[in-house]
Point group: C2
Chain length 537, copies 2
């Protein structure tokens, strides 16, 4: 049978009046009777539209300060009865079909967000609205249900193009929207009422999910979802070129963007397995890329590279993607920036598989850090504070004024490296560079060793002169070593000193702090305590 129906009788009852007059007019044009109530009725009548008062249908008055308007045997029967099986019964009960419900609910969310008190919240829980919506949605085979003014256009279009008829598919889609609407509505009420009685609950809703080719590994199936009522974060990134994103790409892009998003100048992060192995901040984009790349030029191959400023051709030429010698080309997985110039994009397209993406990194701010753990959930504020107050407990003092920017940059780097972590940063040609880091170590001393080793390797690569030991000494003496957590023993200090490090930043707070300070003093190291740990797992 043909399941496309005309709307002969519609019930309009909306708190958001946007577009309701236009919708009513096109319903009238299609020969539809309009039933309405309260403010909606007044609005339509002011526009000269003839409206049947709902009390004529229900036989009841609007009662109890508006708490009872629509709920009735007559209205819900008109929505719910089966147009085939129940036709006769409906006739005998004097029930006429209602074919369309347009309803949006009392603005509970708005009242909540504007700080309404408990009584106001309770009063703004809609009872009649959800009942109509749910009844109409259940009977979507015959009834159209609309919850959002943004769907009026499509309804009008359907009527116009289809001789007043509404298609089954459209009604089905609107049914799904309606149940999502009532689910969202009661979810917010439930969470709010939980809070009211001192219970913590959290309801998260994700939409528009799609299958990824696979998960972290090819034997794992995976999906990617957008969080409802949020900007959707990376779900909304703009894909300009290249192969589809993988699960690991998305994870790494998140890490890369978090790494650059706190930098206020021109910044670039080179990320591998979620950790920034390269990070630089300065004024010249190309130089910043070069310095970030130089943080670990081996791992940088196959990396995710994120920028916080519009990406220019001059910068991306660094990748040598058009070099005739393949070995000279710097192959990477993903390039992402808030904007990419047309010339830069054309150049990046030289590499067929390279994913090129635009994304405004500020969109990842203002979220909580949420970890799902097999049936439980950890939720925390993000780590956004760099330091508390800086103490200088050692004899040799760090020049806080001169090194302020470098200290901040170092702390930003350590915020984004997996614990235990050590990073070593330096000033280089007016920019700031992560010269070496040690990540994800059970043992802090090993993280220090790795960071120092990486620095030496990188210095050797950049030095072209003939007195490398002197160069290395000078450069390391100007670096700052940053630890994400306190040193429980002086061993890290001794190691750092042995390799020529002269400046250390760490949170402090160990019962062995004094021993660590003594070790610094014995080794002419200037150490600062920040009071703020930066564990990240």
């Amino acid at each position: 049978m043909n399941l496309d129906w005309n709307i002969k009788r519609a019930l309009l009852s909306v708190s958001d009046k946007t577009g309701i007059v236009e919708l009513a007019n096109s319903l009238i044009e299609n020969g539809c009777e309009i039933i309405s109530t309260g403010g909606t009725k007044r609005k339509l009548e002011e526009a000269g539209i003839t409206v049947t008062d709902i009390s004529k249908v229900t036989g009841n008055p609007e009662a109890f300060g508006g708490r009872m308007k629509t709920i009735s045997f007559q209205i819900e029967s008109a929505l719910l009865f089966d147009r085939e099986k129940d036709k006769q019964e409906a006739n005998s009960l004097n029930i006429d079909e209602i074919d369309l419900v347009v309803c949006n609910l009392y603005p509970f969310k708005k009242v909540l967000e504007s700080g309404g008190n408990f009584e106001e919240l309770i009063e703004n829980i809609d009872i009649g609205g959800p009942t109509m919506l749910r009844a109409a949605a259940k009977n979507f085979k015959y009834v159209t249900v609309i919850t959002n003014p943004s769907d009026y256009d499509e309804l009008q279009k359907q009527m116009k193009e289809n001789d007043g008829k509404i298609s089954y598919d459209y009604r089905k889609q609107m049914m799904v929207k309606a149940f999502n609407h009532t689910a969202d509505y009661d979810s917010l009420i439930a969470q709010t009422m939980d809070k009211e009685i001192g219970q913590s609950s959290l309801r998260l809703s994700f939409k528009e999910g799609y299958d990824l080719r696979y998960g972290e590994n090819s034997h794992q199936q995976a999906k990617f979802y957008k969080e409802q009522d949020s900007n959707g974060g990376l779900f909304g990134l703009k894909f300009l070129h290249g192969k589809a994103l993988s699960f690991n790409n998305i994870l790494d892009i998140n890490g890369a963007i978090e790494s650059i998003s706190s930098c206020d100048k021109v910044a670039c992060a080179v990320v591998k397995h979620s950790n920034p192995c390269g990070l630089a901040e300065g004024f010249d984009q190309k130089q910043v890329l070069e310095l970030a790349w130089a943080g670990d030029p081996i791992s940088a191959f196959g990396s995710i590279i994120a920028f916080n400023t519009k990406l220019e051709l001059e910068t991306v030429k660094f990748f040598n993607l058009d070099h005739e010698n393949r070995a000279e080309r710097k192959f990477i997985e993903v390039v992402i920036a808030p904007e990419i110039s047309e010339e830069a994009l054309d150049y990046l397209k030289t590499h067929k598989n390279l994913r090129v993406l635009e994304f405004d990194h500020s969109k990842l701010k203002n979220f909580k850090d949420i970890r799902y753990l097999n049936g439980s959930l950890l939720v925390q504020d993000k780590d956004l504070k760099l330091f508390d107050k800086i103490d200088l407990p050692t004899k040799t003092k760090i020049d806080l004024e001169q090194d302020q920017k470098l200290i901040e940059f170092g702390l930003k780097s350590i915020q984004n490296i997996k614990s235990n972590s050590i990073s070593i940063v330096r000033k280089k040609d007016n920019s700031l560079q992560l010269l070496g880091m040690g990540a994800g170590q059970p043992n802090r001393l090993i993280a220090s060793k790795m960071a120092i080793e990486k620095c030496k390797e990188n210095l050797a690569k950049e030095y072209k002169g003939d007195d490398f030991p002197a160069y290395q000494k000078e450069e390391l003496a100007n670096c700052i070593l940053i630890s994400d957590a306190f040193f429980p023993f002086p061993d890290n200090v001794v190691l750092a000193a042995k390799h020529g490090i002269t400046k250390i930043i760490q949170p402090g707070g160990s019962i062995k702090d004094q021993t660590v300070i003594d070790a610094c003093d014995q080794n002419d190291i200037a150490m600062a305590f920040t009071g703020i740990r930066h564990f990240k797992h």
Copy 2:
């Protein structure tokens, strides 16, 4: 004013009939009139209870195959009107109070889980039930609403102890339950209908949240929640002794349990910063702990230690917690096992701060791996497959029969170490041991270096004889080196060979596989391909 009320008139309409007769009887004893409908009415009448048919109250028949039973101006008015403000209006409209609604909804979930078709699902969407529940809940100031048989006892208790009166606080709690119930109900409908039209959505709900002292770091606030409709995972662990759990403890415990939960024999994991730095599997619990500890005896201090079998006194004595010399005591953060013997617990209590927990690790199975990323969500199956089919492409072959258990153990270890990772495992005295690992490295070669370095360190610590080089050679030759992903170059093979490794397991699949095979053959290394990568981030 006193907000404790008697229930004079109750509406009972339940699909789950558990306890409904007993409840009705105690309502009757308290002089309450009972209104009911359909199956509930029949059940009560069979038990000899006098029931008012709902159609007497509504003035309408049950209609349309049961789609219309309760919804009416009369019923919802009786639930919704304000007992103070609207009293007169209610009188003039002949509306009498209904003070209690007991209702549970059409079993949509049950029909869904039993594979009901679309029409059956639609028919099992309750319209009248949620309307009554929501109306009663909105007016909880006067009306009691009950959605679950498990709450009948408390209702009966209140009536008994309070002269038939129901307290405001109880009504408020039941209101919160009712809105949670309708939110859950429509959430499941919405998600199911989304799927029906080919849209993916996911609604997650978390309950019973409580504040942790702080998050990963002290400047971050944090909460811990239980997932609804799940066993709650670590939320349900049994706390036997020690300081309260921290955010990082919970994260690490999750890692520790995942590390041991795939081991079928007696196993122990020593975890630091989410990575197992020690792991062993065998037959004797104490020996297994010793071997796990020996995987990184420095990092093991302050670690989380998980067992998969009942923890015995003999085992925990290894920690030397009662040693008179503090330096001999092995201080750790958390011990967790499915069961802990009384004697072991008494011994562990020697350490005041040590957290001692019981938890059945099998409870963390069957969940998805879910990552929340600032407004988007990645969901994937867990990595549960160890290998696909094992290829032996090198001239020297691994003896798959002899080494089968060790290979499986090595693959389990690598599944739980952050990428890039290398683990080196061996057989030791009838047990299997993670002898060294490199975790979380941007560069695989560095992970190999770290793993080999750790093995040598550990061998040096255990050897008491006078020909260490010979011992080291022999032990390393018997080890297997496992890589979580393929080798893109032969450099890892060359490094491994240089240090005396003779057996390698890796997934294979690089375009350079042949070069890597050649390097193995040149170095007499036996290598196997598993076809399965084990990235973990």
